[in-house]
Every structure is written in structure tokens, then in C-alpha cells.
Symmetry: C2
Subunit: 325 residues, 2 copies
Amino acid sequence: MKILVTGGAGFIASNLTRRLLAAGHRVVAIDNFFLGKRRHLTPFLGDPNYTFIEQDLLDLPALNQVFAEQQPQRVWHFAANSDISFGTKFTDFDLKGGTLVTYNVLEAMRLSGCKQLLFSSSGAVYGEPTVHPTPEDYGPMLPISLYAASKLACEGLVSAYAHSFDIQVWLFRFGNIIGPNSTHGVIPDFLGRLMDDPSHLRILGDGTQAKPYVHVEDCLDGMEFAQGHSSQVLNYYNLAVPDRTTVNQIADWAVAALGIAPETCPRDYTGGPRGWRGDVPYVNLDITKIHRLGWGPRMNSDAAVQRAVLEIAAQLKAERAEGGA
Amino acid sequence: MKILVTGGAGFIASNLTRRLLAAGHRVVAIDNFFLGKRRHLTPFLGDPNYTFIEQDLLDLPALNQVFAEQQPQRVWHFAANSDISFGTKFTDFDLKGGTLVTYNVLEAMRLSGCKQLLFSSSGAVYGEPTVHPTPEDYGPMLPISLYAASKLACEGLVSAYAHSFDIQVWLFRFGNIIGPNSTHGVIPDFLGRLMDDPSHLRILGDGTQAKPYVHVEDCLDGMEFAQGHSSQVLNYYNLAVPDRTTVNQIADWAVAALGIAPETCPRDYTGGPRGWRGDVPYVNLDITKIHRLGWGPRMNSDAAVQRAVLEIAAQLKAERAEGGA
């Protein structure tokens, strides 16, 4: 099958590409390198089943041309801003990079006759829910960040296109996805800062924020499973793990992974329950629905974090060795 | 108080303007006359407390200048596409006229320090709910039209701005609002077509679609009451009536209001349960939350429709008399 992947040089999509090519699919990846990294494409560039197109998804005529020429049968849409705190500084960042881009992808699908979409939303669409674990039918959906507002807007567009134009959709509300090639987030942040200066570690908030961390391999496994095992016009699932890991625990493992003696690395807390305005400090997504479909993650949150810390530490070391060479 | 009203030449805002001026407020109304009508402004043009500005809300720099010059203390934001079926024909119609316009209004508020917003959303954000009556905390919110997708996107933006930038918001999910100055909808449609040709009446769908029709005076009364009696950062209410009126019943009253003998006016049904793709044929919004606050509508759905049919028939006759003069 010919599959188009947006955000193709980004974190999750670059992990997906490896899996899709290994499964024998043809992959057309699109990225504008705003957040994506050229090095994430390197492993695929010689593969005859792989096509990379450098393109800004905000350019709808150009995107329409890509779809007309490539005629993909399915889209995995990952392109988005992935840093929630950006949206407070630049208020049109998520509107353009999330909402308008998703409209353009849907419109290019409609005009070219592409009928299947996997879309990555976020548990942030629930705002600060009062029900834990939070199920898919939780309401009201009142986001507290512009990032989450954009994900909610994208969900609405995806749902309306599904019902108006017969595009079949699998929509996933992610926990925190982690693993190799991640471009930002608490794990690369901690590791990067500790590699720069192992004498202390600054922690946003009070360190007790607790989230379900999902390894990217489990994330992609769950998406593929749900796509293969559900067939409504609009299929939607929380995709997370049953437990949570605190920021303090992640700090412990990051310090250990770099061989730093904990007593030599005091922590500076910025304080308060949130890492930043718009941060939801406690996230607990109910994954009963995807469990009932027959799928569960192989790694719990702690196991995913421990693995990702080692993977990302190895990547950062290799990058710094190259950069210094 | 100085109050800015968007969509100022539109249906609900023009009814609001009369009430605000009568209550001694200063009103700054903005409209681009895309859907709004110049005749809706005529009653206010000599009033020293009334300022009208012809401006497209998609032009953010111009909108920022309006806010900087006028320094409104509160915004009632009504500007939007109000015809759900438009969105299927022009897929960027609601995205631009709803989502992007609402972002611009919020951004202009943020930059000018305006801190209070009343926002008109729609019960359509619930998609096709399985719970009736549908309460405010219903989920999942999976809209089936691009109109509803845009309202959901606007809700997300409004919620994120409330939490990120301390803008206090009163958000209302309307039933079908009807009354004088309405620019479209089943009542002016039926009356207009019957005045053109009283020999038959075309009805979209099978005529059994049933919605809660709210008279615009009750709508504005409920909004004012909720604004005065709730003080969260984000306050949200369904604003509807406890009963519903069918399209067939509205047709009966429209025929009667024009003095047409029913037996001389057969009905042509386009058939099917929906008026158009994206139409939600049965709407029943739970209004317990605003009831608990202490407010209820004076007119039920049937009473609102009967009154609005007479009001709109009188307006259409006057307009046609003028047009023919």
C-alpha cells in the first residue's frame, strides 16, 4: 500500500517509516524541517519504496499537487507543533501548524479521493478532567492550552470530514510518547542539560507532575492494531499506559543514565504544580476501549521511560560526538 | 459600559444592540455585511451611544486598531457563518468565518486588555449525541458538519485564552434561535418561498426533524442573566428550551400566517431523516444547568415559533412592499 506520512522527519513519523518500509509498504514522507530533522531521514534515503518531499503543509495548492501525483491510499498525519509551551508565546503557532495544516491535509485527501486517515490527537483535549482515568466519552472538553485547543479543532475537522466526505478516520488521543528521535520533551531536556552541566538540574514545576509515558513502539503498535481491528467511519481511542511516571523519577533515571552521582547534582525547582501555564500536571487516560479491542502496551510507563532514557542518551552522545568531530 | 458586538448587522447582534442601548450601554458594532444587513442598523444610526465600524474580522491588524481606539470593556462575539449547509459546499467557509475570526477577536482582546467575552456556540458541537436531553458535560464531541467543527474549534480557542490569558468567558451552546431580523433558517425560508409561490411548499427531509426553537429575546435574556450570575473564568451553558417543534408544524404555521388554505398548498418532501448532510435531525439540549442558576425561557419552542412566524412574515411583507415601491 502507498502511504503518505506528514511530519515525516519528526519523532513519531520517522519511527513509523521504518516499520512501514519493513512491512513492505511504499512511503511518501512530507516535512518542512521546521521541527523535523534531516538526520531522521538518513536511514531511508536509498530505499526505492521511500519518497521524501520537502513541503510546507500550509501551501494547499502544492499539497494538492503532491496528492494528485502520488495518489496515496492512506495518510498518517503527524505534522504539528509538539511543544505545548510554544503556544503561549506565539498564539498563532498551533492555529497554523495544527489546525490549518490539518484542514489542508483533509482537503487534499478529499480532492484526490484518499479515503483513510490515522490522526494523532492528545489527551490534552480533555483539559483538566475531573474523572480519572479519563475515558474517551469524557466531557466537557475545555482545553487549557492553545496546543490542546488546536488538537480539539483538528478532531472536529477530522470528524466533520469523516461524516461529510466518507473519509474513514482512526483518531488517537495520546499520552506522552517517548523514544528514539524525540525532538523535545522532558527526557531529552533533562539529558541535554545534564550533559551541558552535570552540577545541577533545573526542574519545571515541583517535580510531582505525573503522566503516562508511552514508548513510541507501543504507540505505533497500538495505532496499527486499532486501524486493523476497527471499521467505523470514525474510530477514536485513548492510547496510553495504565500507570504514570513522575518528573522526579525521570530525573533520577536521567542522572543515573549519565553516570552522575545523585548527591553531586542538586535540583532547582521552579515550583508550583505545573511545569508551565497550560501544563496539565496529572494525566490518567482510560485505555479500556482499546483494551477491549484486544490491544495493550508491552511496556508500562516506568519501563517505557527507562528504555527511552537509555535510547535518547545514546543518540545525544552520538550527535555530540559527531558535532564535535 | 462600552461593549463591542461582532456580527453587528446580523440577526442576534442587531436584537442585542437594541437591548444594550436601552440599558444605557455604549455599543461598538462591527460587521462586513457578508451576511449582515444594512437595514438592521438603521434604527441605531442616530444614537450617540452607537458606533458602527465596517470591518472584516479576518484583518487582524485592522481589528487590533479598532480595539486600541475603542477600548471596549466587554465583547459579545456573534460573527460567524450561520448556515450549516454552506460548509459542505465551501469547505473553508467555517474555518475562515468562524475559527480564524474567533482567533482574531481573542487576539485583539488579549493585546488590548479587554477581559470579558460572551461567545455564541451551538448544540451542534455534540455531534449526534446518544444522551437526550444532552447535558453540557456530554462526550464525545464529534461534530458531523464543518459548521459544528468550527464551533468546537472556537470553544477550544476561547477556553485556552480564558485559561492562558485571564479572559473571562461566558460560552453558550444554542438551540435554534429565531425571531425578527433572522437572515436564514426554516421560518424565513418557508415564508419566503410561500410568498413567491403559494401553490406548494418544498420541505428538506421528511419534515419530522425536531429542534428546540428559542426566541431571540429569550436567548439574549438568558445570556445576560448567565453573565450576571456566574463568575468562573470559563462559564458554559446550553441555552435552549425544554420542548421541540417539528418542521411539519412550522410549515403549518407558516401557511396559516400567510392566509393560505392548507389544502391548496401540497408539500414536496425531499425525503430522508435529515434536511441536508450534516443536519442533526433530533436536538434536545439539557438546560438544567442554566435553570439551576435561576433562569428559564419565557416561551417554549412552539410559542417561540408561533411568535417568530408572525414577526418574520411581517418583516418580509414590509421588505417586499418597499422593494416593489
